[in-house]
Symmetry: C2
């Protein structure tokens, strides 16, 4: 099966930035991009889709979320952080079950597809349920059976369960699912657990996904508890020997940033969540300047409260300018790269995240007809500063159309909404 997208704009990576090519032809054969040119192909295609007035770009890679937390969207939104967690979220999570997480995962995948996300890095309970939804829906995901326990208990069972999940699901769905190793955070695992599990991750050649230094309080508690920062603690546990995605990284000292850089730990920036919860500002441009790799994520919808990577791109592009009182701190190229190529590589997907021949066909289309995308003075700028996620009109993953003009092509929307109500936890 060969499909040609004809006459659209295409966002193409070029060195450190992007260019937009007009009247371009992009061909897809099976799961890969097979053609890309401003000249029409001479070879035949099975179907041709007209893309006039639309822009093709790489799909977005959401590198930190807790997808099924959409179930708790908006609950306790305006409570203080501690009361929100201890009075609302934790008691609800105690009641979670497979069916509820399955329903929540489907809902989250619908939302992510509709907002242009083609792959997400998840960390949540009942990951088998999320895997079921991912396999059926056709999206990509880096899943994990994460380690989260009392601080002073060696979580032998958790480690075994995590390894079992890894053996069972890694590379499932023709490689759409990757399984990551995951320690929830310094404050939710014992040192012995972290050391043993990090050693196993390294042995297996795995990727690690952690929460790191989300708040000043976490940083200070860690210093009190361990005599060192969360970054130093994970480093000493051997965690960073593996390729690591560290969500948040708001509360760092200079030595922490040096450790992240030297160990090639990637930071996942979650601006909506960090702002809404009052965690503060991760020093993203400063870290980028020092050579730290930064990807982008939404965090869960309980703290965001959505899974909209266009919103995260927009926030990442403007909040640091405001904080540093300098309009040049971030720019469109930087955040487009964070949300696409950097995210794909962080997930271990080397042949994704960029529109070029030979890469996987993970492609989204932006409908440029809305008034807020007119006139087309600068298309990259429109994507980052003007677009809404609702401008996404098509999502393709591994060459398969999953979403088009508001319709989910692999998910029964009404059934998902029914199951959300049926499995509702109160």
């Amino acid at each position: 099966m060969k499909t040609l997208f004809a006459n659209g704009y295409v966002l193409i990576k070029e060195n450190d930035g992007f260019t937009v090519t007009d009247h371009a032809y992009l061909g897809v054969e099976n799961d890969r991009i097979c053609f890309l040119s401003t000249q029409a192909p001479t070879e035949p295609f099975d179907s041709v889709i007209d893309m006039r007035g639309k822009l093709l770009m790489p799909g977005l890679y959401n590198c930190h979320t807790h997808s099924a937390m959409v179930l708790f969207r908006g609950i306790g939104s305006d409570l203080p952080l501690d009361r929100w967690l201890y009075e609302k979220i934790f008691p609800l999570e105690q009641k979670l079950n497979y069916e509820a997480v399955l329903a929540g995962s489907y809902l989250a995948i619908m939302e992510m597809l509709a907002c242009g996300t083609v792959s997400f890095s998840d960390m949540y309970f009942f990951p088998e349920a999320t895997a079921e939804a991912v396999l059926h829906a056709g999206i990509k995901a880096n899943l994990t059976r994460h380690i989260q326990s009392e601080k002073n208990i060696f979580d032998r069972q958790g480690i075994q369960a995590s390894l079992d999940f890894y053996e069972r699901y890694d590379h499932a769905g023709n490689g759409r699912i990757f399984v990551d190793f995951s320690l929830h955070s310094e404050y939710a695992c014992a040192e012995q657990t972290a050391r043993e599990y990090s050693r196993l991750c390294y042995e297996k050649g795995g990727r690690m996904h952690i929460h790191l230094a989300e708040t000043t309080r976490e940083y200070e508690d860690c210093i009190r508890r361990n005599g060192k920062s969360p970054v130093a603690w994970f480093y000493d546990c051997g965690t960073f020997a593996s390729k690591t995605a560290a969500a948040h990284c708001v509360a760092l000292d200079e030595n922490d940033i040096r450790i992240l850089k030297e160990n090639q730990v990637s930071v996942v920036h979650n601006p909506s969540s960090n702002l809404k919860l009052g965690s503060g500002f991760a020093k993203i441009p400063e870290m980028i300047d020092q050579g730290v790799t930064v990807a982008l994520g939404t965090d869960g919808a309980a703290s965001n409260n959505n899974l909209n990577m266009f919103e995260e791109m927009h926030l990442a592009a403007i909040i640091h300018n405001g904080r540093q009182q300098n309009s040049m701190v971030m720019n469109a190229d930087t955040v487009l790269n964070m949300a696409t190529g950097i995210g794909a590589r962080l997930q271990g997907r080397q042949d994704c995240g960029e529109l070029k021949v030979g890469n996987k066909a993970d492609i989204i289309a932006i409908d440029l007809s809305a008034p807020h995308l007119c006139p087309r003075n600068d298309l990259k700028s429109l994507l980052v500063y003007s677009a809404q996620a609702s401008d996404v009109c098509m999502v393709m993953v591994d060459g398969k159309l999953l979403y088009r003009n508001g319709e989910f092509l692999t998910i029964d929307r009404e059934r998902v909404l029914y199951n959300i109500e049926k499995t509702r936890i109160r």
Copy 2:
């Protein structure tokens, strides 16, 4: 003509906050709300519109914009502030004409309607063109022929032109257009101009619309030039004797905030623009705590880069939590109030901005069917933290439907887009 909206959710003001009523009936007769109850009316209505799965709320009041600047959307987006202004925007503005501003005003109105805005406070060139578009489109606007001149020239002509515009357009379109007085800023008018014009505004009982303390540099230049802050300068010119809307207010000292409070000057918060341009953070929650009234605006699309009040509500709700590292600083009620009732009153529209019997029927409907608005745990929270402007599915102004399900009912969309291209300034 009597229309009944039946079975929807309705966002109702209650003391300092809002409540959401389900299965409500809201009736409109001519230009006003004539019925609001959870009981169906016994009297007949000419038409009944089913609102199941939708939420009715007051339309949004954009209290600071330069609507026709949509023409320059995205131009020089990633340049430093000075180069953006002096190399890009100012030279383009030299070439503006009536036709271009007319086309730009129509485009801006389309964008604002599609994003749920029912009224906007404008400050830009060729306001007669914007008035023409407003009168035709059916939206509301506070327009002005603002004063903007060399610092040391008494702008007698400008004052006269501004008064002429006031006499000609104030209360046009059955009161949809209000005309405000407007001094661009301290740095763009002479003290004599400001004094004379402020005196005339006070005599006429007018409202004043100004830029105030947008950047630290503006604040410092003003101190150097006048030996006092921009706030103190306007106060001394007598400007604050009239009801004043002051856009930005990023660079204020404690004395400035006291002056704003004592003179009941309203601040218009423009978070997107302040962040993107690197101006910084207006101390909004601190000002609210001290009793200053704060409304919300988008600023122009050249610096935002859109006219999306849902985005501004979201930013206003989260960025101050981040800055103060406290999740309780802002909340959904506060920003919903800023974007509706406070904005309407600032524009002098006492019978607008709140859904209640007797008020003008300025109503928008939110389609709650998108995945990112599910489940409906907390509707107010959904509106502020989860919604996209694209969830707006209906806009009514003075009882007249202007936008419904993506269609503009009073504006010829294709003609506007054609005119944008035809009048394009390069």
